[in-house]
Symmetry: C2
Subunit: 370 residues, 2 copies
Amino acid sequence: MHTLNDQRAFASESMIRLMRLALEAPDLGSAVSPTLQELVDRTAASGSAYFHSSNQVPTYHARAAAGALPEGPAMDAIMAHGLPADMPLMQALTQTRLPLFFDDTATVPEAAGFPALGVRSLAAAPVRHRNGSLIGAFLMHTFSPHAWSSDEAGLFTAVAETLAGLTARLAAEEDAVAAQESALRALGLGLEFKDHETLGHTDRVTDLALRLGRYLNLDARTLQALRWGSYLHDVGKLAVPDQVLLKPGQLDAAEWDIMRGHVREGSRFADALGFLPPSAHDVISGHHERWDGQGYPNRLAGVQIPLVARIFALCDVYDALTSNRPYKHAWTPEEAQAELAAQSGRHFDPDLCQAFLELLQHGSNDLQDS
Amino acid sequence: MHTLNDQRAFASESMIRLMRLALEAPDLGSAVSPTLQELVDRTAASGSAYFHSSNQVPTYHARAAAGALPEGPAMDAIMAHGLPADMPLMQALTQTRLPLFFDDTATVPEAAGFPALGVRSLAAAPVRHRNGSLIGAFLMHTFSPHAWSSDEAGLFTAVAETLAGLTARLAAEEDAVAAQESALRALGLGLEFKDHETLGHTDRVTDLALRLGRYLNLDARTLQALRWGSYLHDVGKLAVPDQVLLKPGQLDAAEWDIMRGHVREGSRFADALGFLPPSAHDVISGHHERWDGQGYPNRLAGVQIPLVARIFALCDVYDALTSNRPYKHAWTPEEAQAELAAQSGRHFDPDLCQAFLELLQHGSNDLQDS
């Protein structure tokens, strides 16, 4: 027989378990999934979902779901385009701190739209940003009218009060990481802004470097450092005068010295950022070193050159060869690959060069975007 | 009489309460403070503290404390410089998932250093980054030897397992926010990197704008937007050719057109960032508008110009006047203030101009740094 205290202890411990799972999850969707499953297991709900709106976008997208969801074209549209912020339910959630319970969606204006999905009873709890704005909603539903019991309401309310706060913080972390990423990429793009010839180079070379990194099974931290280093590899060119950076003809020896200085300037700039991991620095400081020791600025050779810099150098040269520049037309992929192969063991690490050529010729079986 | 289930329910509910408090706290220190107080209230601990290491810094700094802490020069040094990562306790914490309990610090090598502080019993729990590295430690202590009871150990372990996960996530959010801040500032500094005459301008003008914003009691979100806008106000100058940007003499009419283009280029760049709040955009797009409608690019007048842009314009002109430039010496603060006063109602919003002059002449009673 369960006493009230048994129930209290069980509910609280269950909540702590759900919070721990959420804290260990790699992303927001997996953080809330166990909670949605718990709602389906412990209430009459047929299904449950969490909808979230990132960074001022006026649409709430499904980030996780459990149990049975509505089906059909209207639901397909919601999964593709999200719930609009002006739908009555989301408007109602902006006005309340407590969850809303609708035993029959056909009878309440706040649930407009849900009967057409086949959803007949609905519970909805708001998730708010620390500034008070609505950023998400926990929903659970049945496909026939259902009177939500006080136990069900209690559980859902406890979820709303506890998990919602955690969800909001995880969302804040996600937003901050996305903004950091965007700011770092923008730093790289700052140069393209001036040097129109290199338009798109930063994103293309970052994409290539990540594809090669994943092909080599690098871990997530190294891939992150590779991505950040790729964004910033040429940031030191901001310090190169236009007359050298944008010169249409060949550079003379003095001008080459200035141009090569972009590597040291970039390292200095990366230092000033303060939070770049050493591997990201390595991409910036080492991307013009050569396997044969004839590169700059430090004439490192072979495996003295950090792995990420050796990876990046391949991608950087390949993108330069296959792009139009003032002084040359774009090479075809085949011509560029032949040049990489010719430079294997001279400019490039031969093992990495082989892997990169395999990747370019046969594609990667990792087709996910970064 | 308390049953075991009463105790379980109480402990779990207490943990949920502590997590909710942590989730609502504005920063990491205030997030863990209620937990430290709970440890002091519910165990024999005289005091408790949370030490944290941000972003690869090999030192753990006190971020929050409760109860009685050790006193004296050695403790002063710890509060000032932090606990070094190579001290035996921190080394021991890198090796364990479970908390460590020392009934008498004088007898265990892992607690070396603590007896000299007067700390005789100690409990320590690790906080880890998701990548597994140690980022912090919850500590509690007594000033005489004390055999930690199983209840005390149970509570401390529960804290370690639950709050530590949350603390790590809050730290991740804090790191990402700091990195975003640093990347945005670096974007602004990118220009100074090229235009050495403006060295320090970004930080000085940001500081002035925040001081004026706080003097005007702007809320935290508006201050953040003002700070980001200040970092980025001249980012569009990256698109201005060197021959115009760095020209030592007067610009001709065509060159002025190009120079004025930096405002629109900056807005375009800010759009590309994707996450800037509208008020930060307003600083970038509106900082060369004038109160009398004679500014650029949109010839806005009076309160058509967003408040943050009117605030920033004052600070930008003041810093330019009081700095050396190729074509002029730095004006004295008195000369610059006289010029601002003369431009009140012409270049500048008269109310804001008066407030800024008050602030410059009498100082702010808000002397905190941003």
